[in-house]
């Protein structure tokens, strides 16, 4: 039996701002993980990663990060990815300050 595929989102940093961004169904980049495309099939995920990395004048190197389906859309699984959705804990800087 094939091992179960953990759902993923495609994420990276925006080229100009360095801000954490996620890849959407429309092949655009969003600063909000809940608007990202949740990839539940491995082959589709690999294909989408190629498409994401083709936008090389938009972003730096994209990668697949584990995610889960939350109430409002994809949510991070690992704490590192969760920090990327917020910003640092010592100052109210980054995404958490933009809300």
């Amino acid at each position: 039996m094939a091992r179960e595929f953990t759902p993923k989102v495609i994420t990276t940093n925006h080229l100009l701002s360095g801000d954490a961004v996620w890849f959407t169904v429309d092949s655009t980049w969003t600063g909000d993980i809940s608007e990202a495309e949740l990839l539940e099939d491995e082959a589709h995920a690999d294909l989408r990663l190629l498409e994401a990395n083709a936008q090389r004048d938009q972003v730096t190197g994209a990668y697949l990060a584990d995610a889960k389906d939350g109430e409002n859309g994809p949510e991070p699984v690992h704490f590192r990815e969760a920090f990327r959705t917020r910003g640092p804990s010592n100052y109210n800087h980054g995404k958490q300050a933009e809300v």
Partner: protein, 555 residues
């Protein structure tokens, strides 16, 4: 202080203009990220979790008021109003935008600063004793040789693609304040039979495989410094392992081949290249030395200092903790703590930077230092000026009297910023400092070095902390491992792991148990934490950390 000559100026400007072209080509899409990355790293530009990070070199930790003011300007204009001083005496900006970076580098070049070789597999910024030139226990100011090494290593064609990064530290004192034995190569100025020379250490380093540096040459004549260091780097450049980045540092090369074999290879290489050094390096060194002449010391009574100290307990506490002995008895070395309780270790706001710049210009012979312990130093202050300095620092929350105490914590940026981190460091440092401030125990506990790293790369020097804390990712949860008995001085030692790690919630109470446990077992108030540890061994400290296990063993 060293002043750029025409060559330095032209080189730095040229590099800024090259990098501007590279950034332009990256933005218009003609360079891919993979193509661009080596260029940005050569110029100190990293990509972190939330943004780019620019690491600016502060060679051997020395800067003047104008440079500090410019760092404040960059922080305010291109970043979020602050900068982070690091354990390698650099400053990092956490939020620059890519297109602004060439402009920032231009602004830095205006004050003879740059970000060259602050990253990549090259010889990095040479670090130095932060009391260099001022310390009472010093044989000679080591900064002229640090500057010589900087000039020699900058863009050195043989050493632009080393197996891994290479870090050099220098000191001219008997007390090691530059963590010499944790560097790839360290140079200590020594005297033998009235002759000045250098003791050379090799193969120290922290990180995944911590090693204490070994003496490679006990006494190297002054004129042999550059060819000898070049021989060391050259031997390692050929021998160092490029197959495995975790085994690439010179500490592993020395460990695998043995110090005798390395010494033999270095001596052979040295014999080969020594004749090619015509002595021009020594001519340049003499020129550099002139830049580091002592300031024209102010004379005058220091009675005002003594009287103010007697009358003002808060000032007295600060003076007792934050001042160090100067070679001129009427002067003091002031350590400005960037560790206000609850603040981020090493961070300074633009306002704070400007105040420190002003104090340096007004009272400190226009000189500042950054310490590897992430504090700022005014190395030349006449004692009569100390009350004014103290009051000015108080106004910008920089008068915390905690140098060398439990809240004077080294902490790397950790997972709040760093892409390599496995856990956060900053909040742990903030909470420990806040907790011991609440307990009002800091001064009773006395000298104690806590050092925190957010991953095994050990930028926070946890291995050489009396108490080291290493943040790890254990099955998707932050976990903190404690090491005990490390030492960063001339008695350098790698701390030993105390036992199982603690969760983020458990780590502060664990540190509290450990420190209270020390207070119970120390011989008297004069026996420091590290002295008690050396006398008693790790066990009683482990018992304090793991009381349940201790109780089981006792039963």
């Amino acid at each position: 202080m060293y002043k750029y000559n025409d060559f330095d100026e032209a080189f730095v400007r040229e590099r800024v203009s090259q990098f501007k072209g590279q950034v332009d080509r990256r933005i218009d899409g003609s360079l891919t990220e993979d193509e661009f990355k080596p260029f940005r790293l050569m110029n100190g530009l990293y990509l972190q979790l939330h943004a780019y990070m620019l690491r600016v070199a502060i060679p051997y930790g020395t800067l003047n008021g104008g440079q500090m003011r410019q760092l404040a300007y960059v922080a305010e204009t291109f970043d979020k109003g602050y900068g982070h001083f690091t354990t390698r005496q650099n400053i990092q900006y956490n939020w620059p935008k890519l297109a602004d970076v060439p402009v920032i580098l231009e602004k830095l070049a205006d004050v003879e600063m740059h970000a060259i070789q602050t990253s990549g597999n090259t010889i990095r910024n040479v670090t130095a004793d932060h009391f260099a030139g001022a310390a009472a226990d010093e044989i000679a100011d080591p900064r002229p040789i640090a500057e010589l090494l900087r000039q020699w290593s900058t863009d050195h064609p043989e050493f632009q693609a080393l197996p891994r990064k290479f870090k050099i530290a220098v000191s001219g004192a008997t007390n090691d304040r530059a963590v010499l034995r944790a560097h790839d190569v360290a140079v200590q100025v020594v005297e033998q039979d009235g002759q000045r020379g250098y003791r050379i250490f090799v193969g120290g380093g922290l990180g995944r495989t911590p090693m204490i540096g070994k003496v490679l040459r006990d006494f190297l004549p002054e004129a042999d410094l550059l060819p000898y260091v070049e021989a060391v780097v050259s031997v390692w450049n050929l021998l160092g392992r490029r197959d495995n980045k975790y085994k690439a540092r010179i500490k592993i090369t020395v460990h695998e081949h043995g110090i005798e074999e390395i010494s033999r290879l270095v001596e052979d290489r040295f014999a080969e290249i020594r004749p090619t050094f015509s002595g021009v390096d020594q001519v340049i060194l003499r020129e550099i030395e002139a830049h580091f002449a002592d300031p024209t010391y102010k004379t005058g009574s220091t009675d005002g200092f003594d009287a103010y100290k007697a009358a003002n307990p808060a000032f007295r506490s600060w003076a007792d903790t934050n001042l160090a002995a100067h070679k001129n008895p009427d002067y003091a070395i002031v350590s400005i703590s960037l560790k206000a309780h609850g603040a981020t270790p090493g961070d300074a706001s633009a306002d704070q930077m400007r105040m420190m710049a002003e104090l340096a210009e007004k009272y400190g012979h226009d000189e500042l230092r950054i310490s590897h312990e992430q504090n700022v130093i005014l190395p030349y202050v006449h004692k009569s000026d100390l009350p004014e300095i103290y009051n000015a620092l108080r106004g910008v929350e920089l008068a915390t009297a905690n140098i060398g105490l439990i809240s004077d914590i080294i902490a790397c940026p950790g997972m709040d910023y760093c892409a390599l981190a496995t856990a956060r460091s900053i909040p742990i440092a903030q909470e420990i400092a806040t907790r011991f401030d609440e307990l009002k125990l800091e001064h009773e506990v006395g000298p104690l070095k806590i050092k925190i790293s957010g991953c095994i790369n050990a930028c926070g020097h946890h291995h050489v902390g009396h108490i080291g804390i290493l943040g790890l990712d254990r099955a998707g949860v932050e976990n903190y491992q404690i090491t005990l008995g490390g030492d960063h001085t001339e008695d350098a030692a790698i701390g030993e792991r105390a036992g199982p790690g603690f969760s983020a919630d458990e780590i502060i109470p664990a540190i509290e148990r450990l420190v209270l446990g020390y207070l119970d077992i120390r011989r008297d108030a004069d026996e420091t934490f590290i002295q008690a540890f050396r006398r008693l061994g790790a066990q009683p400290f482990k018992d304090a950390l793991y009381p349940e296990k201790a109780a089981r063993n006792a039963a």
